[in-house]
Symmetry: C2
Subunit: 426 residues, 2 copies
């Protein structure tokens, strides 16, 4: 695998133009770089140019293009096989403290890469501060790097006063995607072009990805769980005619065990207000997308009551989209924190706690069975503890548990099965 393209190639100059739209499908592809090869070719990089933990950001690269998903599936399976053959996965290297930048080279210190990293680092700081204030305890921080490029910072709070488990990760990934994935995404494979020739096998397409992701599970069953994730992606190629793409994606969604309509309206309303500042078409579109993505198909129910989810966003000026992603990340605290403050000291029964635990079981089911970031991260060798940080501290599976008719538990379930088209019309 020619991952030296990633390690030592010049930083591609990304021209954000409307022509990029066509290339954007390929941006959702991702590769599983040979970490061994990366290690060898990256030793010349400075230790301080912290590199790749691709685990966390695998979730960012696989959202919306069916062709890309198919190609990725094949390539991930092949990579997993190859890793298994290698007898072991290259471990991330833990470092003492988070570096000032997770970017690799000085050339990345300006432009969108730097702007986006700055945004997610600041969001991590401000959201952690808000959660620490509510909980009264501090996050534990782990930072790591990989020989091949990129890096990450996990902040985790476990068994706090208010939160059972809360984690906020940021990470930066430098990787490459295989030619096959590019061809599948662009349709050249179907036309019979570019079959597995030597040339085709050798060339891999570099990408850059950066993102923040978080899940927070409070203890009180009346206080909801929140998840959010914002990410930026670039793809480029040294080859003539290679793909050159970029896109933004992300979302924020709520998973309560008990439904309070006014809480749902506050949460959705805050997200809607933020969306509306940028484009009034955003909220309706991203609300529906969210309901579709977080779907536990085997249960016939959503993981929670949704929020917003978007991907493949490159149809306007990148600075506008950065501003949108920034506002969305900054809306997590006003959308979510008041709900936790409101319910953290609510009284509850043992039955209500058990229902919360059953809902946590469904959360585990979604994340392990359907969530693309989680499943690919697990199968291809990411930093497991950061990927699985999203799982609750505890969960429960009762055989054939069915809520009583007309109960509060059934009311929540109904909202997960048939989410209202308009939360504000209730």
């Amino acid at each position: 695998m020619a991952s030296n393209l990633v390690a030592s190639g010049p930083k591609p100059v990304i021209q954000h133009t409307k022509n990029d739209l066509q290339a954007s499908c390929s941006a959702k592809l991702r590769s599983v770089p040979s970490q061994g090869a990366q290690k060898a070719s990256c030793l010349k990089l400075k230790r301080s140019s912290f590199v790749a933990s691709d685990a966390q950001l695998r979730s960012t690269l696989q959202r919306s293009c069916p062709k890309a998903v198919k190609a990725f599936t094949v390539s991930a399976a092949a990579a997993a096989e190859s890793k298994a053959e290698e007898k072991g996965i290259e471990k991330e290297e833990m470092i003492e403290a988070a570096p000032s930048s997770l970017l690799r080279e000085e050339a990345d210190a300006t432009g969108m890469r730097a702007s986006f990293e700055k945004m997610i680092r600041e969001a991590q700081d401000s959201i952690c501060a808000a959660i620490e204030e509510i909980d009264g305890t501090k996050f534990h921080e782990d930072a790591w790097t990989r020989p091949g490029g990129g890096g990450g910072i996990s902040r985790v709070m476990q068994n706090g006063n208010v939160f059972e488990k809360a984690g906020i990760n940021v990470s930066v990934v430098y990787g490459t995607m295989p030619q096959e994935a590019y061809r599948a995404a662009t349709g050249t494979a179907e036309k019979g072009e570019g079959k597995s020739t030597e040339q085709g096998k050798a060339g891999r397409i570099p990408f850059f990805a950066a993102g923040i992701s978080s899940v927070m599970h409070p203890k009180n069953p009346k206080a909801p769980t929140v998840h959010f994730n914002y990410r930026y992606f670039e793809t480029d190629s040294q080859m003539e005619g290679g793909p050159r793409g970029w896109w933004f994606g992300g979302g924020t969604d709520l998973t309560p065990s008990y439904l309070f309509t006014e809480d749902a309206q506050h949460f959705h309303g805050t997200l809607k207000d933020t969306c509306d500042k940028h484009d009034e078409a955003f909220y309706p579109r991203f609300k529906t997308w969210c309901d579709e993505y977080f779907y536990n198909q085997h249960r016939g129910e959503r993981r929670g009551i949704g929020g917003v989810f978007f991907d493949d966003m490159n149809d306007r000026d990148p600075e506008e989209l950065l501003a949108f992603a920034t506002d969305m990340a900054n809306s997590v605290v006003p959308a979510y924190c008041p709900l936790v403050v409101k319910h953290k000291d609510d009284e509850f029964t043992e039955t209500e706690k058990e229902w919360q635990q059953i809902r946590r079981g469904r959360y585990v089911e979604f994340n392990l069975v359907y969530d693309r970031g989680t499943t690919f991260g697990l199968k291809t060798g990411g930093r497991i503890e950061s990927i699985l940080m999203s799982l609750p501290l505890t969960a429960r599976w009762e055989y054939d548990q069915v809520p009583e008719e007309g109960s509060e538990e059934e009311k929540l379930l109904e909202a997960c099965r048939n989410p209202p088209d308009d939360w504000f019309a209730l």
Copy 2:
């Protein structure tokens, strides 16, 4: 989908010969029949000829043939998509009491289908009786049928005196597999034969499957969890030159939270003795196969300390293999029950209980991420409660939990990471 082949075609006559070996790879394919079509074409069947719950037995059809796995993946994904388009999955029909036979037609009342069903029904009865005697409480029984053929019986014990959760399922499935899956398995697709012509699309290959599967999770962290599954499979075709195969598969494996070498030796020893009666080559081969299958790749550890696992068994007289499967199912009680009796009243600390809960989390990870039967069952619309019966009542995920060096917890983990080649040499 021509599922009328299943519903109304004559029972295929299975000739068990060594020539079947060649066809056996195709036997590991499975189809996701159009339940709607089955319903329409099966209405003429007597209600008492209980039909298809394919959920439980999906686990039986996907074990060992890589080509088949790939073809199945594609077909399952397509089927899931088509189901999603149908807006809802046909529900199994619950019935008042378990019928005397789950087989569909009188023609199935003799031969291997009947013999195998008799064996698994008797095993369900005898193992349930042994567990009830230890626990002091009774299993709850649910029986069901589907319009399209087959049926199942789930027995579940939850929050008993000794067992946190225990379940034993039997099920019988009549289904069809798509031509594409057959072609992929036999390699005709690669040779460019039988491409998606009208003829190729219309013909589907019928199969029959029957099996027993079980997971039992005790409360006491010193008492181990056991899983077992035994199954029989047939495939046939009305078309000239179509596949005609049959095979046996199964296994029994142990998942302790604490390792007691003498317990591991008793468990493996009982299984080995049973294997040795039939073929001294069985135990070493099936022990290794078990360690390979129950592997949580992202953790770099097995789910537990193994046992035996085998599949694709059709290289000797089917009566011999039935006798082997019968002996294996009957060895569950002597292999496992003494260990529960020994440890069910052991003293334990809160830390030991938490460690058990963490190991239960790993169990959930394996079943939801890797276990083929579970993941396909979930994605293609089986009886969810029977599929997920295998999950523990409760589980736990702590961030970056690492056992202390030299602790009992680390000792267990080491056995899961590097299982001894020979348990009896310890």
